[in-house]
Symmetry: C2
Subunit: 107 residues, 2 copies
């Protein structure tokens, strides 16, 4: 168990999206991801896991299962096991996501 303040997990990095771990248990992980303009995660899939992206700040373009949508704060995109998904920050501002996956890879 634990407590964490995600409101200060806002750092980006120049080479790729920045992942700030919140917690990881045998059942799932939760991260805060910060994407500078132009950064993203290419479409991919996880064989046995559910993944979600929840927008905390900014706007991004999300893909899941062959559909695309632009989402702002409060928007969520999820992919079930084996469904391709990805995200791109094609805005001019930082994009901050709460990202969870269950079960986490390798668990």
């Amino acid at each position: 168990m634990g407590f964490h303040d995600c409101s200060t997990d806002r750092g980006t990095r120049p080479d790729k999206l920045a992942k700030h771990a919140v917690f990881a248990t045998p059942q799932m992980f939760l991260d805060v991801w910060c994407l500078a303009p132009g950064q993203g995660q290419d479409a991919h899939a996880h064989a046995g896991s559910t993944k979600f992206y929840f927008v905390l700040e900014g706007r991004g373009r999300f893909a899941a299962g062959g559909e695309e949508r632009e989402l702002g704060p409060g928007g969520v995109c999820w992919a079930e096991a084996a469904e391709p998904h990805g995200v791109r920050n094609d805005s001019d501002e930082r994009l901050v996501l709460l990202v969870g996956m269950a079960p986490r890879p390798g668990a």
Copy 2:
């Protein structure tokens, strides 16, 4: 897969905390919970699941594994399998949480 705008899931109910389902898959569920002042979820535990509360709006008092903490927006409290956890809105304002559990009960 799917997309959802959680920013409009803000309804409370007078008798108990309001749960707005976002998605449920075999691996996890994600909800938005709205707690009016005075409402809460008493301490309890789930045998094989990880659960988290993430504060979207307002302030609440969270318990996990014998510790208590007051959290505001961006605060997260998580409990691993079998760890007792609960939340109470002892403020004067609505408390809005993103709540996830993996695996979901009964899955």
